[in-house]
């Protein structure tokens, strides 16, 4: 990096260069900056519109090319790991928010925070032993916290085998997903840190809801969905996830695949307790279809994301073949 004081033009050009992948910037940024500054007029404070557009376009193309070079196997593993991480983070937040009042029991809050930390650590660091230890601590802490707060895990409630097994159906899928995540992740194949933005969305949404006044819609409907968060949060979360992943498709198809996977896993996991209720209570099978039509909307969204991703991959493959020809 130059030792001369940075001018406004240089600072603004450096900002535009952030469109390129970090490893490309490390190699080329200073050289490109030198060329750009040499080509500038005396007193020029802003990069020209032509230069700005070319840097942004070339940077985005460089990112897309880097992601394509990863290969299908690694890309799918990273997408799957990210999808499971998103599902686990949503489920952990949901479990925490299911037991009111949220945040009043330090042990319970700590357990959910530990599960979120384990998820992040599993995907973005690949430290399997640390992740397994943190998960075990979280699992041990959570019932203690719930028992103290008098919700969910009170002793009479748990003494009946039926309800205990229903709880296992609620908490089992996220824990299984976390175990799959630990098996999937490798330190050499860590996904970009920018995906953390998506993974932290559910907990951020919950945090925002705690800070903002509650419109109370879920009380009107009398329903609390098991996935993800409460009924009135679902459209907000899905809209944000869809918009962000659509933006990401310009350079990277992996987040869209991951989000699609998390939606499918989340919706299928939602039906496990329902199936158990049907089996144990000998309830009519129609119970499975009386919840609402959310499952069709969510699975439709997941299918649309996968279809868009496949279309983009097909077009890029065709374009690269044409270029090579």
């Amino acid at each position: 990096m130059s030792t001369l004081p940075a001018t406004r033009l240089e600072r603004r050009a450096r900002l535009l260069l952030r469109a390129y992948p970090p490893e490309y910037r490390a190699e080329r940024a200073e050289e490109m900056l030198g060329t750009l500054l040499e080509a500038a007029q005396p007193g020029q404070e802003w990069p020209s519109a032509r230069d700005a557009w070319s840097l942004l376009r070339s940077g985005v193309n460089a990112r897309a090319a880097r992601n394509r070079r990863l290969g299908l196997r690694i890309s799918l593993r990273q997408a799957a790991a990210f999808g499971l991480a998103l599902y686990v983070s949503v489920a952990a937040v949901n479990v925490g928010s299911e037991v009111p009042p949220w945040g009043t029991d330090p042990a319970q809050t700590l357990a959910v925070a530990l599960l979120l930390a384990a998820t992040v650590l599993a995907v973005w660091t690949g430290y399997r032993a640390a992740v397994a230890t943190i998960t075990a601590i979280a699992i041990a802490i959570f019932p203690y916290g719930s028992y103290r707060s008098g919700h969910g895990f009170s002793l009479p409630y748990h003494l009946t085998a039926r309800m205990a097994s229903v709880d296992a159906a609620y908490f089992g899928p996220p824990l299984l997903a976390l175990l799959a995540l630990i098996a999937l992740t490798q330190r050499s194949e860590r996904p970009p840190r920018s995906w953390l933005l998506l993974a932290c969305l559910p907990s951020s949404l919950l945090g925002a809801r705690q800070l903002l006044p509650d419109p109370g819609w879920h009380r009107l409907s009398g329903l609390v969905t098991l996935y993800p968060l409460r009924t009135n949060d679902l459209p907000v979360l899905l809209t944000l996830l869809t918009l962000l992943t659509l933006g990401w498709l310009v350079t990277d198809t992996r987040p869209a695949l991951g989000v699609a996977l998390s939606l499918v896993v989340g919706q299928l996991a939602l039906y496990i307790p329902a199936i158990q209720e049907v089996v144990m209570d000998r309830a009519p099978i129609v119970l499975l279809w009386t919840w609402d039509t959310t499952i069709f909307k969510v699975l439709g969204l997941a299918a649309a994301m996968v279809a868009t991703t496949l279309l983009i991959l097909h077009r890029r493959t065709r374009a690269s073949r044409a270029t090579a020809g």
């Binding site: 990096m1 130059s2 030792t3 001369l4 080329r28 200073e30 050289e31 490109m32 900056l33 030198g34 060329t35 750009l36 040499e38 080509a39 020209s48 032509r50 230069d51 557009w53 070319s54 840097l55 942004l56 376009r57 070339s58 940077g59 193309n61 460089a62």
Partner: protein, 111 residues
């Protein structure tokens, strides 16, 4: 070959140049028609280097920043000549249509 790529290679015909010098030379050679933006130049240089048509010749530090000079490889020069030949022949169809049709008329039939 696209026009910016053609003029990047043409700019290096007289010898190795660094980024800004390539931009200036391409502009001169094209009578101001081709004004390469920085992003476009380095995308072209990356691609041409991957295709072994240009190569890194030297590196120096100027004003605390690295400055690299690029030169044409033999394969790059050959590709440039082939493209120039192709364009010249294509231009001849329009500029000297009678001369070309005359040559075609004189060409003996082989079948």
């Amino acid at each position: 070959m696209r026009e910016p790529t053609y003029f990047v290679l043409a700019a290096l015909l007289a010898g190795p140049l660094h980024g800004y010098a390539i931009i200036k030379r391409a502009e001169e050679l094209s009578d101001g028609r081709v004004r390469l933006a920085t992003g476009t130049l380095y995308t072209a240089l990356d691609r041409l280097a991957a295709e072994r048509r240009v190569e890194l010749v030297s590196e120096e530090i100027v004003d605390g920043r690295i400055r690299r000079s690029y030169g044409l490889t033999e394969s790059g020069a050959a590709a440039l000549r082939a493209e120039a030949q192709r364009m010249a022949e294509a231009a001849q169809i329009v500029i000297e249509p009678t001369a070309r049709s005359g040559r075609l008329a004189r060409k003996p039939r082989t079948t």
